[in-house]
């Protein structure tokens, strides 16, 4: 990707207090250093250095519910905020008592999107679902989904229900990232071939900044359904520790008599994790395989790359 290409944005918006900062912190492993008093809405635009999927920058905005100063600032900066947006992720607090107002703010964001970045993808997250009783969750979510889909026309929005206390947040963001990867189906086919060639038990492809699993291949049934989120959490914790020493995480090898696991940089946007259950295969062999595969996958990305960025520049 050319360095002169404009940075595209991922907007994370929602009412003040709907959980965006927590969400960003958990997904992107950002430490939240809070004041003991919350001094008002999160003013968080250019401070975000999170680069995501190569050239996307995450911007977080409180939308509605803040004081008039923020409202005015927001309105005056509207065009700036909504230009060059690749993705809009709008967060709704399921416990909010002001549904009308929330929908109203959402619609005004959509209008701004239509004007400034009509090709942006829109995702709606109905958040804090753990506060709803279990037997009512599906009902409430379906209701909201209906309303949101109706309100979003002509844009189409994808809705997810999320909570930081279960696997729904991780799965929702994984789906979002999956839809943002430009040539994901091709990546998956190649990944399967790669795994079968090197006789791996399981191969995972992670997005680089968030360690969300983009795609995976497994050759047999695995017991733990939550293993993706667990690996993500472990590696993000490790990254946090590394960053305290101003070091950055590059690769990891874990082995015992039962298995060997390799986590390594793969392409410019991804990490790969390869799990071999045959401990007799030496590490060096697998590492060579990964290195060769890397070259192949990079070529894949580059082949589609310029096409992709050209497509963007032509908008």
């Amino acid at each position: 990707m050319s360095s002169t290409a404009m940075k595209k944005k991922v907007l994370l918006m929602g009412k003040s207090g709907s959980g965006k900062t927590s969400m960003r912190s958990i997904i992107f492993a950002n430490y939240i250093a809070r004041d003991t008093r919350r001094l008002g809405a999160t003013i968080d635009v250019e401070h975000s250095h999170v680069r995501f999927l190569g050239n996307l920058v995450l911007n977080l905005w409180d939308c509605g519910g803040q004081d008039t100063f923020m409202e005015n600032y927001f309105t005056s900066q509207r065009d700036n905020i909504f230009r060059n947006v690749e993705v809009l992720i709008y967060v709704f607090d399921v416990e909010s008592r002001e549904l009308e107002k929330d929908m109203h703010y959402y619609q005004s964001c959509l209008e701004a999107i239509l004007q400034n970045s009509p090709d942006a993808k829109v995702f709606c997250l109905v958040h804090k679902m753990d506060l709803v009783q279990e037997d009512q969750r599906d009902l409430i979510f379906n209701e909201r989904q209906e309303d949101l889909r109706r309100l979003s026309r002509p844009l189409s929005c994808t809705c997810f229900r999320t909570s930081i206390w279960d696997e729904t947040l991780y799965k929702a963001w994984s789906s979002i990232v999956y839809q943002l990867i430009p040539n994901v189906q091709q990546l998956e086919t190649n990944l399967r071939n790669f795994a079968q060639i090197i006789e791996a038990d399981e191969v995972l492809l992670f997005e680089r900044a968030t360690f969300l699993v983009i795609s995976h291949y497994q050759c047999k049934e695995q017991r733990d359904a939550h293993r993706f989120e667990k690996i993500s959490n472990i590696i993000k914790q490790f990254k946090l520790s590394c960053s305290k020493l101003a070091a950055s995480f590059q690769s990891m090898e874990v082995r015992n008599s039962n298995f060997a696991a390799f986590i390594d940089v793969f392409t410019s946007n991804t990490y790969v994790m390869v799990i071999m259950s045959d401990p007799s295969i030496p590490s060096a062999a697998t590492l060579i395989n990964i290195r060769n595969a890397r070259k192949h996958f990079e070529k894949l990305e580059r082949v589609d790359g310029p096409k992709h960025s050209l497509h963007m520049r032509m908008r």
Partner: protein
């Protein structure tokens, strides 16, 4: 597989150590292995997984989220409904065993009835003695109405105080009291003002106690003296069951009037309600104030309950004996009866502000309620019971005060003063109350000391010198009031209105409005209502001075 079980310490090293017989830890090589805990199988030797997948992923999340915020930040702390029940939690030791946690905090908390009783007990103070006088000052009908209204108002403000720590986001407020909440919203200034006003109520109570204790000690001593010397009180005669002390004061300035006996005169000289007894009390109480810890005195709080129960019994008995004397004159007082609606009603509101005051410690009292969701219900029930008790005592004394010979205006701020010192039942009441107050006075002194010393010196007992200085001031205030202005009605209403201004009306309303505003949920009706509350508090205080 077997490699995992190989001891880290090889057998060579072991044979070396076995040569050193002086080593006290002569363990065999197997035990020197690092412990091996099968992570999913720590409770029994069961091959099934004991750790469910939900538990293990929750554990992973908790570990990760705890790295994302500061340790005191509750933003990413798991809420209660996410954490499994105590029955499902195992605590395991690294040595490979696990056990279940028992019960939990619920076992040490109090059921509702205990909490309600504790609140009733704490609120019932000496202001019960002034309620009949307060009703008289406001007029009977207006008095009853005001009592109900003040009860509801103070209940609402108490509810606001109780809820105030809950609406503070991101901080663990579980051990905060109301001054901490004020500090959060208003800074040091807020904490200081809530402290100062709380001290006003404490010191007001202590001064009232001193005056009352002098009163009761005087009457008790007089009763015993008269009983010993078989004197029937010349002032009052033996037939009247109720007296009107202020009529007597009008006729003679000193209650120690002339009597035939020089020894009597000597007794009245040395045993005077305002001249000598307040000083005798110093000898008894000043040492008690210097105790480092008040836990000894806290054991006597049950005396307060018994005193109130006895007072209720006494009041009922007197009402039966005296009968009801009520006449309704709506707006104009006559010789014997007072109007139903009087302009002196602020005096009642002042007394009631202190009578219904518990706002400085309600959070602490409610903390140990077993079912926290019932807090509001329990608080309301407690306020209802307190209101009913005050109403009962106030109405019965007022109604049964024999009006044809005496005017209702005679009712004293301490209604026990309306009974002669020769009345046995009332003597018992006075003795009881004296004993109870002697045991509560050091407790109040301790609370005042802890708050003042804690704020000024960060230490509740900086040195004997500091403490004795403070105690001398407090005692001196009591003695001076007892000597020169022993009108407990005024002391109660002024101190009640002052501390009520801050802690009952202004601060809770302000805190609530500010927290709503910060959430962006402050609506006009709510803002107007709470501003009205603040104005009411100010009017209450001003009314004490002007009416």
């Amino acid at each position: 597989m077997d490699e995992d079980w190989k001891p880290l310490v090889s057998s060579d090293q072991n044979s070396e150590s076995s040569d050193r017989r002086d080593s006290t830890d002569f363990l065999d090589c197997k035990a020197k292995r690092p412990f091996h805990v099968e992570p999913k199988n720590i409770v029994k030797d069961d091959l099934r997984e004991r750790v469910s997948s939900e538990a293990s992923i929750l554990n992973s999340r908790l570990h990760y989220y705890s790295r994302l915020t500061g340790s005191s930040d509750r933003l990413l702390s798991p809420p209660d409904h996410v954490i499994p029940q105590p029955e499902e939690i195992y605590i395991y030791s690294p040595l490979g065993t696990a056990f279940k946690v028992k019960g939990g905090e619920g076992a040490s908390k109090n059921p509702s009835i205990v909490t309600i009783f504790a609140i009733w007990n704490t609120m019932m103070g000496t202001s019960i003695l002034s309620i009949p006088w307060g009703i008289k000052q406001a007029g009977f009908t207006l008095g009853v109405l005001i009592l109900s209204a003040m009860g509801l108002l103070t209940l609402y403000c108490c509810y606001r105080v109780l809820k105030s720590p809950k609406s503070i986001p991101y901080i663990d407020t579980s051990d905060w009291e109301f001054p901490d909440v004020c500090r959060y919203y208003f800074g040091k200034c807020g904490q200081l003002s809530s402290l100062v006003f709380s001290l006003v109520s404490l010191l007001g109570a202590m001064v009232v106690y001193w005056v009352l204790m002098s009163n009761f000690l005087y009457n008790t001593g007089k009763f015993i003296y008269n009983y010993e010397h078989n004197i029937s009180d010349p002032d009052f005669g033996s037939n009247t069951s109720v007296i009107c002390p202020y009529q007597l004061h009008n006729s003679s300035m000193d209650i120690s009037i002339t009597s035939n006996n020089t020894s009597d005169a000597l007794f009245h000289f040395w045993w005077s309600k305002t001249n000598t007894i307040p000083f005798y009390l110093i000898i008894l109480l000043l040492p008690l104030l210097n105790f480092r810890s008040a836990s000894f005195f806290a054991r006597f709080t049950f005396l307060g309950t018994i005193s109130v129960m006895y007072l209720i019994f006494l009041v009922t008995l007197k009402a039966i004996q005296l009968g009801f004397h009520l006449e309704f004159h709506w707006f104009h007082s006559n010789d014997f009866f007072v109007a139903e609606f009087r302009t002196l009603f602020p005096q009642l509101t002042g007394v009631l502000t202190l009578a219904f005051f518990i706002h400085n410690c309600i959070i602490t009292l409610m903390k140990n309620n077993r079912h926290q969701e019932n807090n509001i219900r329990d608080l309301s029930v407690a306020y209802l019971l307190v209101g009913l008790t005050y109403l009962y005592v106030g109405v019965l004394i007022f109604a049964s005060f024999p009006s044809p010979p005496f005017s209702k205006d005679c009712i004293e701020p301490n209604f026990l003063d309306n009974f002669p010192s020769s009345d046995v039942l009332v003597f018992i009441a006075r003795a009881f109350l004296l004993f109870q107050m002697t045991s509560v006075y050091p407790l109040l002194g301790y609370l005042a000391r802890v708050q003042i010393m804690g704020y000024l010196f960060n230490n509740s007992y900086p040195s004997f010198f500091h403490v004795i200085t403070l105690n001398i001031f407090i005692v001196a205030a009591g003695v001076l009031m007892a000597k020169f202005y022993p009108d407990i009605g005024s002391i109660i209403r002024y101190s009640g209105a002052t501390c009520g201004l801050a802690l009952v009306f202004v601060l809770p309303a302000l805190v609530h409005m500010i927290s709503l505003k910060r959430q962006g949920e402050l609506k006009w009706p709510s803002a107007i209502f709470h501003s009205l509350l603040i104005l009411l508090g100010i009017a209450n205080l001003l009314g004490q001075f002007f009416m």
